[in-house]
C-alpha cells in the first residue's frame, strides 16, 4: 500500500480565483449544475454536490485581519473539498460497498456499484457527497484517483496558482502545516490553526486526509466545529431498538395471554 495521500489547504494563501473548481470540472468532465447568481459575495458555486467537487467559499467579515494595516473589512477564501475522513461516515453507511478506501488512503465511490440509495448523503458530517437528480448515483471528489494511479498530482492542486492547495504524503503535509502555523503565529496571526489535521484535532472523524489551515471559527467557512461520523453513536440507537423489539414481543405475548381464550 502506498503512503496515505491527501490535501493540505492553506486558506491564508487562497486568492479566490476558482482555478481549482474549473480544473476539477474539466479533468473529471463534470457537467455544470446550473448557473446561479447567489448574491453571496463572489460565491455562485455555494455548496459541494454531485457535480461540484471543489467549492471556494468567500467569507466577508466586518472585522480586519490581525496583520491588516488598513480598513475594517477582511475577506477570507477557502477551497472546500471532500475531506477523505480517516473514519468516513459515507463509507460506513454505504449498503452496497460502493464506497471504498483506496491504496492512497482516499475514499472513493465506485460509480458502477452505487445504487443511489442516498444513505451516504445524510451520513457525511460535512455535506459533501450528493446525488445528481438525473443520474441517480452518489458522487464526490475522488482525490483524482485516475491521476494518482498515473503518478500525477490532483487537478485542483496542480492548477492552484498560490499553492493554497498542497498535495502530498500525509505525514509530510502535516509536518509542513505545523510549521506554517508557527510561522503565521510569529508573523502576528495568532488565530491561525489547523482544522482536522489529526485524530486529536478532530476525534469524531479520526482526522481528515484533506485538512485545512483556518483563521476564524470553522462555522464561518461552513465547516462543523466538532463533526462526528454518525456510526460512532449508533450503539445507542441499536440498544434502543433492542429495547423496543423486546417491549413489542412482551406486549404481543401479554396480549395473547390476557386477551386469549375467554369466550
Amino acid at each position: 500500500m502506498a503512503a496515505s495521500k491527501g490535501f493540505f489547504t492553506d486558506t491564508t494563501l487562497c486568492i479566490g480565483c476558482k482555478a481549482c473548481e474549473v480544473a476539477c470540472k474539466q479533468w473529471n468532465q463534470l457537467p455544470d449544475d446550473g448557473f446561479l447568481f447567489s448574491g453571496m459575495s463572489y460565491d455562485n458555486t455555494v455548496h459541494l454536490g454531485g457535480s461540484t467537487w471543489r467549492h471556494v467559499a468567500f467569507v466577508e467579515r466586518p472585522v480586519p485581519l490581525n496583520t491588516q494595516t488598513d480598513g475594517a473589512f477582511s475577506w477570507l477564501f477557502s477551497s472546500d473539498v471532500c475531506k477523505h475522513c480517516a473514519r468516513a461516515g459515507c463509507l460506513e453507511s454505504c449498503p452496497t460497498g460502493a464506497i471504498i478506501r483506496t491504496e492512497f488512503g482516499s475514499v472513493y465511490v465506485q460509480p458502477d456499484v452505487c445504487n443511489g440509495c442516498g444513505y451516504c448523503i445524510v451520513s457525511c458530517p460535512f455535506g459533501v457527497i450528493n446525488r445528481r437528480e438525473e443520474d441517480g448515483r452518489a458522487w464526490k471528489c475522488t482525490l483524482c484517483y485516475d491521476r494518482l494511479r498515473d503518478d500525477l498530482v490532483p487537478a485542483c492542486a496542480k492548477a492552484c496558482p498560490t499553492e493554497s492547495i498542497q498535495f502530498g504524503d500525509l505525514d509530510e503535509l502535516r509536518a509542513h502545516a505545523k510549521e506554517r502555523v508557527e510561522q503565521l503565529h510569529e508573523r502576528g496571526m495568532p488565530e491561525a490553526y489547523l482544522y482536522g489535521a489529526s485524530a486529536d484535532d478532530q476525534p469524531g472523524t479520526e482526522g481528515l486526509n484533506a485538512f485545512f489551515l483556518l483563521v476564524d471559527k470553522p462555522e464561518v467557512y461552513n465547516l462543523p466545529p466538532d463533526p462526528v461520523a454518525p456510526a460512532k453513536k449508533v450503539k445507542d440507537a441499536w440498544l434502543a431498538a433492542g429495547a423496543a423489539a423486546a417491549g413489542m414481543a412482551l406486549a404481543a405475548v401479554g396480549a395473547v395471554f390476557f386477551g386469549g381464550h375467554r369466550a
Binding site: 457537467p31 455548496h47 455535506g127 456510526a231 404481543a252
Partner: protein, 366 residues
C-alpha cells in the same frame, strides 16, 4: 460514453449536456464522464436556493455561512416514509403472529393467518417502495451482494429479506399435517423475530445520520418507530373489524402501542430539544405542524378506541385516526430531518454545546 455532444462550429452550440466538450475534439473518459446530466439545472440545488433566498446577507448572530445549509439534505421522497409505515406494520404484525402461535392457538387460527399474510404482502410492498426510491433501481440487489454490519441500511435489506422469506414459508407451510407444517410453525416464529427487527431498525437507520435532530433523538427514534408500528397494527385490525378473541388481542396490542407511541413522541421532543435550536423543527414550521397533527391523530385514535361499547362506526373512525396518525408520524420525522439538515446553525450549536464528538468522549464505554 452515454452522451454525444456536437457542435456545428465552435461558437454555435447545438446541444450540450452541461460539459461543453466537443466530442469530435476530445474523448469523454473522465471519472465523471458518464454522470448523466439532461439539462443544466440541479433540482436539489434549486431547492436549496429557496432556503438561501430567505436570508442571504451579512452575518448576524452566531457565525454561519450566509445561512447556507452545511449538510446536504436527505434525498428520500415519499416512498421512504411510506416504507417506514408499511415496514413497521409488517414487522409488528409478524411479532403478533408469532406470539399468537404460542400455547393453545386453536382459536387464533384466523388471526395468525392474517398476521402472516400482512407480513407477506407488507414485505412485498416494502421491497417495492425501497426499490422505487433508489437512484438506480435496477441495482437493488447490490445491497444483497454484501453483508455490512456497519451499514444500517444493509442490515435492513437483510432483515426485510428475512421477514419476507419467513412470512412466505409460514403462509405456505403452516397448518399442514406433515413435517412441513412444523417447518411452517418455526418459520412463523422466525418471522416474528425478523419482524421485531423490521419494525425498529428504521429508527436506527434514521438516527445514524449527521442530521442534527435525528442524531439527537437516536435513543428514542427506534422506540417511537416500534411503538408506532404496534399502534398501526391495532388500527388496521379495527378497520378489518375482527371479532372475539382476535379483536381483544389486537386491541390490547394496539392500545399499548398507542400509549407508548404517544409517550415516545413526548420523550423525543424532550431529547431533541436539549439544544433548543436542534429541536426547533418539531415545534415550528410545516414539519412542526405535521408532527403535532400526527400526535393529535394518535391521541384521537386512542381515545375513540377506549370509549366503552364501541359501535362499528366508532371502530372505523378509531382505525382511520390511528392509521393516519402512525403514517403521518413517519412523514413528519422525514420533514423534521429535512428542516434540520437545512439549518446549519442546528449542527453548529449542537456541536458547540458538546453534542458532537465530545459527547462520545463523555461516555467512555462507547
Amino acid at each position: 460514453m452515454s452522451t454525444t455532444v456536437r457542435y456545428k462550429n465552435s461558437v454555435e452550440r447545438v446541444y450540450t449536456d452541461g460539459r461543453d466538450i466537443d466530442t469530435e475534439a476530445g474523448d469523454l473518459t473522465g471519472e465523471a464522464a458518464d454522470q448523466r446530466a439532461s439539462g443544466s439545472t440541479d433540482k436539489h440545488l434549486k431547492e436549496q436556493m429557496q432556503v438561501w433566498r430567505q436570508a442571504p446577507g451579512p452575518r448576524t448572530g452566531d457565525p454561519a455561512y450566509y445561512n447556507v445549509p452545511m449538510l446536504n439534505e436527505p434525498v428520500w421522497e415519499w416512498a421512504i416514509p411510506t416504507y417506514y409505515y408499511v415496514g413497521g406494520l409488517t414487522g409488528a404484525a409478524l411479532v403478533l403472529g408469532a406470539a399468537s402461535q404460542m400455547g393453545d392457538a386453536g382459536g387464533r387460527k384466523e388471526l395468525i393467518r392474517r398476521c402472516h399474510w400482512i407480513g407477506l404482502i407488507g414485505a412485498g410492498i416494502s421491497g417495492g417502495l425501497l426499490i422505487y426510491d433508489l437512484g438506480v433501481p435496477s441495482r437493488f440487489f447490490n445491497m444483497l451482494r454484501v453483508f455490512r454490519p456497519t451499514s444500517v441500511m444493509n442490515m435492513g435489506a437483510w432483515i426485510l429479506t428475512g421477514a419476507g422469506g419467513t412470512a412466505f414459508l409460514a403462509v405456505v407451510l403452516r397448518g399442514r399435517e406433515n413435517r412441513f407444517g412444523a417447518a411452517g410453525e418455526i418459520a412463523g416464529y422466525l418471522a416474528g423475530m425478523f419482524g421485531a427487527g423490521l419494525a425498529t431498525y428504521t429508527g436506527v437507520l434514521t438516527a445514524n445520520t449527521a442530521v442534527p435532530v435525528w442524531q439527537a433523538s437516536r435513543r428514542v427514534l427506534p422506540i417511537l418507530f416500534g411503538t408506532s408500528a404496534m399502534s398501526s397494527v391495532g388500527a388496521l385490525f379495527e378497520l378489518l373489524g375482527g371479532k372475539g378473541e382476535e379483536r381483544r388481542l389486537t386491541k390490547i396490542f394496539g392500545t399499548a402501542g398507542q400509549i407508548a407511541e404517544f409517550a415516545a413522541s413526548v420523550a423525543m421532543e424532550k431529547q431533541a430539544s436539549v439544544v433548543p435550536r436542534v429541536g426547533r423543527p418539531l415545534k415550528k414550521g410545516l414539519s412542526g405542524f405535521v408532527w403535532r397533527a400526527a400526535m393529535t391523530l394518535t391521541a384521537a385514535g386512542l381515545v375513540l378506541g377506549l370509549i366503552p361499547k364501541p359501535t362499528r362506526r366508532r371502530r372505523l373512525a378509531a382505525g382511520i385516526a390511528g392509521t393516519l396518525g402512525s403514517a403521518l408520524m413517519r412523514a413528519s420525522v422525514e420533514h423534521i430531518g429535512t428542516a434540520s439538515a437545512r439549518d446549519a446553525r442546528a449542527s453548529f450549536q449542537q456541536q458547540r454545546a458538546g453534542y458532537g464528538a465530545a459527547e462520545i468522549a463523555r461516555q467512555p464505554n462507547q
